[in-house]
């Protein structure tokens, strides 16, 4: 295929990303940098300096970090087990295991989140069961643990898939070599599997951290509107206050954190690459 044809095939994607990614970003930037009377404004700085925003942002970052960490701690061992299983069961069954993660993603995330609301409610499934068993009630709905639980549940597949893929891609010879040189299973995981699946871990972290940082649906439904994350404030500015300028300004602040996250993961991946291809220079 020649070059002009390839370009032609990429055209729909170019139109899509221009229309739905690039232009909207510029519209947000435009609103963020201007005020209602059309002049330039310091809205972004004001948004960053507002104590309510700062508190919401800090809360968002803390919740997202906790959710990302929990996802990682669940996803990594699970990916190890699943890759071992699919190794034993053969290639054709790998699809089956992959389906297991993807299946929940086919249900609308809003519905899944509302389902959790019902499960966690004072009179929800869990508490009815605990009451029946004569145990103390679980009381986490409308509290931070419920929001973090929602984040973990919604975004866990995004952590599992890249990690599972990167573990599957590791050449079995490296694992055999480590064992041959005297490493037991645990030592092999920490010294060989983990470092070699680092690209998957980094991708997973970004894919869980960023949507957690920007969510407003999960905090709305499982936080009962009592806990404001930065996503909730942005949403309120646009819908309740109808203030596009303030909403865009706060979005820009949020964007800075997203860009920082992406830069960190890009850098660590590049460091990983250059380390592997580096010549005789000391680390």
């Amino acid at each position: 295929m020649n070059k002009s044809k390839t370009t032609l095939l990429a055209a729909p994607y170019a139109v899509w990303s221009a229309g739905f990614v690039v232009i909207p970003l510029f519209i947000i930037l435009f609103y963020g940098l201007t005020s209602e009377n059309g002049g330039l404004s310091t809205g972004i700085l004001q948004a960053a300096a507002d104590p309510i925003n700062q508190k919401a942002l800090a809360l968002s970052i803390v919740f997202s970090l906790i959710a990302t960490l929990i996802c990682l701690l669940i996803a990594y061992p699970l990916s190890l087990v699943l890759s071992a299983l699919s190794g034993k069961a053969g290639r054709e069954n790998t699809t089956f295991f992959t389906m297991l993660f993807i299946l929940p993603m086919w249900i609308n995330s809003l519905i899944r989140t509302i389902a959790w609301q019902n499960i966690l409610e004072r009179t929800g499934v869990i508490n009815r069961f605990l009451n029946f068993a004569g145990l103390p009630e679980l009381n986490i709905i409308n509290k931070p643990p419920a929001i973090i639980l929602g984040m973990v549940y919604d975004f866990l597949p995004f952590m599992i898939l890249p990690i599972y893929n990167s573990i599957l891609k590791i050449n079995k010879d490296y694992i055999d070599a480590a064992k041959d040189l005297g490493a037991n299973n645990i030592q092999t995981i920490f010294k060989v599997t983990l470092p070699l699946s680092l690209p998957g871990i980094i991708a997973g972290i970004t894919m869980v951290f960023v949507p957690s940082l920007t969510t407003f649906v999960i905090s709305d439904i499982l936080g009962g509107g009592k806990i404001l994350l930065v996503g909730n404030i942005v949403e309120q500015l646009f819908t309740l206050d109808n203030d596009w300028h303030a909403g865009s300004a706060l979005s820009c602040v949020l964007m800075v954190f997203i860009i920082i996250n992406i830069l960190i993961s890009e850098l660590s991946e590049r460091k990983d690459l250059s380390e592997n291809s580096k010549g005789g220079i000391e680390l």
Binding site: D173, A177, D180, L181, A183, L196, G280
Partner: protein, 357 residues
């Protein structure tokens, strides 16, 4: 004779419905360079993986110094493997790769440092400590893989087609290097290859395998000069394998002509296979030959010419330093000493092995 280091007893192994090894028995002596030689799928790599602990046999025992290690995991075995594709850890420097096994055994830092520089000297790669594996050539990576294995002072080194990915010149250099290493270290080498030249050059003992069965065990000279069946003869170098009839001791009838030979004990009028190496066929004046034929092809191979001679409906492969032009009539003569008589395949398995080649 040195003591037996490793013994495989009645090993069976199948993958799915494919029986790879069937009741295999083999022992390896202390300080021996033993080569498992055979075409791909003959079970040689499976034997190596069973010894390394990466596969467990369906039945049978692996003995190491008379101790049963059949169920011992790889990390507890006193042997190390050099993998076919080197398997150097890409996220570690050369020094870290070599130190891997020693760090796990919690050796002191100074001990590890000494071992690294000793091993790098041994494989002629001083000063490569801080490089990463993918900045090294295939031959260099291979030598690091050997260094990484031997610093652990294994009783036995398993080498899985370690030279397969290297080019011809490098492969020849590495063969000398491996023989030198073996002599310097004084440990047992189990070498797996499908390259008969590698096997002949380096081994003390060659085990020729096909389809999970051992075809012949012997010194390189035994295997080359006295192949026990057509498979071995064909696999080790080029051969003319011709069906014949043993008239009586020291006389065999090939292509309706009587050839003197030195073999005895095959009985009278017994069908046999006759092996004549291409370099052992002498092309002479037509009237001086036992049979006559016509040259159909001449190839210049550097040290010798390789010719095809059609004689009595059989195409003989002949190697000689003298060439005869295409279409010329030649006589074929073979020194009785160079005629090797083999029994016809007896079992179906042996037969299958020959046909499959």
């Amino acid at each position: 004779m040195a003591e037996r280091l490793v013994e495989l007893q009645n090993i069976c192994k199948s993958f799915g419905n494919t029986q790879v090894l069937d009741d295999l028995n083999l022992y390896i002596r202390e300080n021996e360079f033993l080569t498992l030689l055979g075409p791909s799928g003959c079970g040689k790599t499976t034997i190596l993986r069973i010894l390394g602990g990466f596969e467990s046999p369906d039945s049978g025992h692996v003995m190491f110094h008379n101790k049963d290690i059949t169920n011992l995991p790889p990390h507890s075995r006193e042997l190390n493997t050099v993998f076919q594709k080197y398997a150097l850890f890409p996220h570690m420097t050369i020094a870290e790769n070599i130190a891997f096994g020693l760090k796990i055994k919690k050796k002191s830092e100074s001990y590890i440092k000494d071992k690294i520089s000793y091993a790098l000297k041994l494989v002629n790669l001083d000063g490569f400590e801080n490089r990463y594996p993918d900045s090294l050539s295939g031959g260099q990576q291979q030598r690091i893989a050997i260094a990484r294995a031997i610093v652990n002072e294994p009783k036995m080194l398993l080498l899985d087609e370690p030279l397969g990915a290297l080019d011809l010149k490098l492969r020849q250099d590495m063969q000398y290097e491996l023989i030198r290493l073996k002599n310097e270290l004084g440990i047992t080498f189990l070498y797996v290859t499908h390259d008969q030249e590698e096997a002949l050059t380096m081994s003390d003992t060659i085990v020729v395998m096909n389809q999970g069965y051992i075809q012949q065990i012997g010194t390189p000279k035994d295997i080359y000069d006295e192949p026990q069946n057509a498979f071995v003869a064909d696999f080790i170098g080029d051969s003319n394998i011709i069906p014949g009839i043993m008239i009586h001791d020291k006389l065999v009838k090939i292509l309706d002509a009587n050839f003197d030979c030195v073999d005895t004990g095959f009985g009278e009028n017994k069908p046999v296979d006759v092996v004549i190496r291409p370099e052992d066929v002498d092309l002479v004046e037509p009237e001086k030959g036992i049979i006559t034929g016509t040259v159909t092809d001449v190839l210049f191979k550097g040290v010798h010419y390789e010719m095809c001679v059609m004689a009595r409906d059989f195409e003989w492969i002949v190697q000689s330093t003298d060439s005869f032009p295409v279409d010329s009539k030649v006589g074929i003569w073979v020194d009785p000493f160079n005629i090797q008589i083999m029994h016809k395949p007896e079992s179906e398995d042996e037969k299958a092995a020959v046909i499959d080649l």
